[in-house]
């Protein structure tokens, strides 16, 4: 009786599986891959000066992009190379927002899972905290924090993570509630699993997976948030190359004379945010059939 079952199992490798290649997704993936790779290997790429204006006192300033030259994307007001600023900016912008999301996911995820699993008083306390964080608009909160904290990359990541935390709590809590009602949790209990095991081994992997797409969306949102702070002049301080700082450099009328100051970083910002969003979206479609709304 087991033999035919096995036979029926064998041809599960599905032939003729034609899937439309998602060109856009691949392009976005490629863009992020190149960007991240460049960001990681930036120090060994032999790039021009990105940050120290003391070294570029003799460099031309405001040079427009020209692909063949020493400064393919041009230079800024201080003679710093736009290309290397973009790449080092990617380093900072992405490091800051990715670590903010990681912190946010870790803290928010843990709180959310705990709240969703334990319910009761713990849930209420965490819910109140979440509401408190949400009750202050994100940008106001960021501005407040940015003006109080010394603007270092770490502080920036911490501040930005505060923006991600309440959303993460909500999503993971909702997901946890959904998963905790599933019978595999009951079965695990029947097998003798304790609370910690259920939270970390049964719920976490499921909940975290459904949170991954959200993380990507948050990364893009926080990249924008970081840029917004720089736009308002309270982000990481120049000449630290972040994309927001770069866009900020082009404002105050310079954009008219030297549009590349704004357009180059804005385009990179756009492409990156777009890619993260798209990746998140596609991933969500793939993994999270039963979307949990915020």
């Amino acid at each position: 009786m087991s033999a035919p079952e096995t036979a029926a199992l064998a041809p599960t490798a599905r032939p003729g599986r034609r899937r439309r290649i998602d060109l856009l997704l691949w392009l976005c993936g490629a863009w992020l891959a190149v960007l991240i790779l460049a960001a990681i290997t930036a120090p060994v790429l032999g790039l021009q000066e990105a940050q120290d204006a003391a070294k570029t006192l003799l460099e031309p300033v405001y040079q427009p992009p020209s692909l063949g030259s020493a400064h393919p994307l041009g230079t800024n007001a201080l003679g710093l190379d736009m290309l290397s600023r973009i790449i080092y900016g990617a380093r900072v912008s992405m490091a800051v927002s990715i670590s903010a999301v990681l912190i946010g996911t870790f803290v928010g995820g843990t709180l959310g899972v705990v709240a969703g699993y334990l319910r009761g008083t713990v849930d209420r306390i965490i819910g109140t905290l979440t509401n408190t964080l949400l009750a202050v608009p994100a940008l106001i909160l960021l501005i407040a924090l940015a003006t109080v904290l010394r603007p270092s990359a770490l502080n920036m990541a911490l501040a930005l993570s505060l923006v991600a935390i309440p959303g993460m709590i909500r999503v993971t809590r909702a997901n946890t509630l959904a998963f905790a009602q599933r019978e595999f949790v009951t079965v695990a209990q029947a097998l003798g699993a304790g609370r910690a095991r259920i939270v970390f081994r049964e719920l976490m992997p499921n909940v975290l997976l459904s949170v991954v797409p959200l993380c990507l969306v948050y990364v893009s949102a926080l990249i924008v948030a970081e840029a917004s702070l720089s736009f308002l002049g309270i982000g990481l301080r120049p000449p630290q190359p972040t994309w927001g700082n770069m866009i900020g450099e082009g404002l105050n009328g310079k954009m008219e004379d030297y549009p590349h100051l704004v357009y180059v970083p804005a385009a990179v910002l756009f492409l990156t945010v777009f890619s993260f969003n798209l990746l998140g979206e596609r991933m969500r479609k793939r993994w999270d059939k039963r979307e949990v709304s915020l």
Partner: protein, 511 residues
């Protein structure tokens, strides 16, 4: 290596683009001016207005006892009928006009003036500090005459009366309204308050009983646009405003072009941008800048052309003297010159100095700050550049706590003698100033400047100061700034007085 932008246009002090109106003034219409800031309070006792911060608004409501005649280069009576001094400029007599009334109907007389002087002196804010240090007493000789006795000789004393102290509020309104007076002013100026939404806009309407005749304009609106000069420019071009005040060099240069189609007034200010050096204040006695070698190293390390190019796209007006090239006080005494080798040598001479120095800068001026940082580091300094979010914090650190090494600071001082004297006196002419610097020669030259009523004599004193400045390096100026008020060609007869305040009492719009 770097291409310097050609600068075919020279910016000169004074009016520009003004065309004689064809025909007589016509009544009616309303004028909107866009400003980056706006008036904070209408109580002149506690304020130090200038053209950028409430001067125009307050002046429209109150008028001023005197005003600065920019063409003649001297102070003349305005709301006052006359003002005269004794021989050594220590006693001043102000005679008021007959029949002038505040808009609440109370008389604009000597009692009212003294009431205002008294409030201002006691307010602890605004001009009260300066007033107290200059004025011994003020008394009414009769209902129309006030006599002011000074503690020292000052030929340009009427300057003070062209400022907030010369803005006279209705004593009745002040007493009646109390705290809320600052929002509901009553003066005797050409305009009166119609509607005010702080931070947004202020609408004034013509005062029909103005002593010099009802203004031609029906109403005057001041629109607040905080987003910077670019936004002002955009709004100007989109037609939302008919006039504004601009400080960004590139835009100033744009507007001053004859082809721009605008009229206005430009004022070049001395020491517009300064690199303040702490010469040793009580809060930071061990600051590097107390060593003259360090100060000289800094002065020699700065190349103002590079700053101009990198931070201002070649549009600024670089200069290391305490007077701009266009200034009437400009002289041939030496100023600082860029010399990296000399800077390194001075730095080497600075015994026990490790090169570490802190630079405070307003975050909006990052590029200039970074260029300065780069230049200092190029000669061997190790600069810790710290941006300051709000200007009030910069003021706090530099002016109040006096706890800094280097700071980028705006010190715009126009040629106008009264303002020049009071500004420099405050900043380095007295002991205990924010630079922690005091020099007998400079202090003496300043007070002689004040006592003189002769331009040549005054210029000589300024030359002395310039020489001494270059010798002792209390701070390094790196830019002259331009301030421009600009309006549409069809707007006529706006008068410009001290601190770039505008007088709209005779302004009119041609069709």
């Amino acid at each position: 290596p770097a291409s310097v932008k050609a600068d075919p246009l020279k910016v000169e002090n004074g009016p520009f683009g003004m065309t004689a109106a064809s025909g007589d003034p016509v009544s009616g219409g309303s004028l909107t001016f866009g400003y980056g800031g706006g008036i904070a309070s209408f109580d002149p006792a506690s304020q130090q207005y200038s053209g950028t911060s409430g001067g125009d608004e307050a002046r429209a409501v109150y008028g001023t006892l005197t005003e600065y005649d920019t063409k003649a280069g001297k102070y003349v009576p305005s709301m006052a009928d006359s003002i005269s001094a004794n021989d050594d400029f220590t006693e001043w007599t102000v005679v008021l006009r007959d029949g002038v009334e505040f808009t609440d109907g109370t008389p604009y007389d000597a009692d009212a003036v003294l009431f205002n002087f008294d409030r201002m002196a006691k307010s602890g804010a605004g001009f009260s500090g300066l007033w107290a240090s200059v004025v011994k007493k003020a008394v009414a000789k009769d209902a129309k005459t006030v006599v002011i006795t000074l503690k020292q000789k000052w030929a340009d004393f009427p300057y003070l009366l062209s400022q907030a102290p010369g803005m006279i509020a209705s004593p009745k309104a002040v007493k009646d309204e109390g705290e809320s007076y600052q929002r509901e002013p009553v003066g005797a100026g050409p305009f009166m308050l119609d509607k005010w939404t702080p931070g947004q806009n202020l609408v004034l309407k013509a005062n029909p009983d103005y002593w010099d005749g009802k203004p031609y304009l029906d109403s005057l609106t001041f629109q607040t646009i905080t987003t910077g000069d670019q936004a002002l420019k955009d709004a100007f071009q989109a037609g939302g405003i008919q006039g504004s005040l601009i400080g960004t060099p590139a835009i100033v240069k744009d507007y001053i072009q004859p082809s721009s189609g605008y009229s206005g007034y430009v004022r070049m200010t001395n020491t517009g941008s300064m690199l303040l050096i702490n010469n040793g204040t009580p809060s930071r006695p061990d600051t590097p800048g107390k060593d003259i070698n360090v100060r000289e190293a800094i002065a020699s390390a700065i190349n103002t052309d590079v700053i101009n190019q990198r931070a201002f796209d070649g549009n600024a007006f670089p200069g290391t003297g305490i007077f701009s090239a266009e200034s009437q006080w400009a002289n041939d005494k030496p100023t600082f010159t860029y010399d990296a080798e000399a800077a390194k040598k001075h730095l080497a001479d600075a015994k026990g100095f490790d090169g570490k120095i802190e630079l405070l800068y307003p975050s909006a001026q990052a590029e200039a700050a970074l260029t300065i940082e780069a230049q200092l580091e190029a000669v061997g300094f190790k600069v810790d550049a710290k941006p300051v979010q709000s200007i009030t914090d910069l003021i706090n650190a530099v002016l109040i706590k006096r706890d800094y090494d280097l700071a980028m600071y705006g010190w715009p001082v126009p040629d106008e003698p009264g303002e020049l004297y009071t500004s420099y006196l405050e900043r380095f002419g007295r002991k205990d100033n924010q630079l922690g610097y005091y020099n007998e020669t400079i202090a003496k030259a300043l007070s002689d400047f004040a006592a003189a009523d002769d331009t040549a004599e005054k210029a000589a004193q300024m030359a002395t100061i310039q020489a001494e400045w270059a010798e002792t390096v209390p701070a390094v100026p790196y830019n002259t700034t331009a301030q421009m008020v600009v309006w549409n060609k069809n707007v006529h007869d706006i008068e410009v007085s001290s601190r770039l305040t505008l007088d709209f009492s005779k302004a009119w719009i041609s069709k």
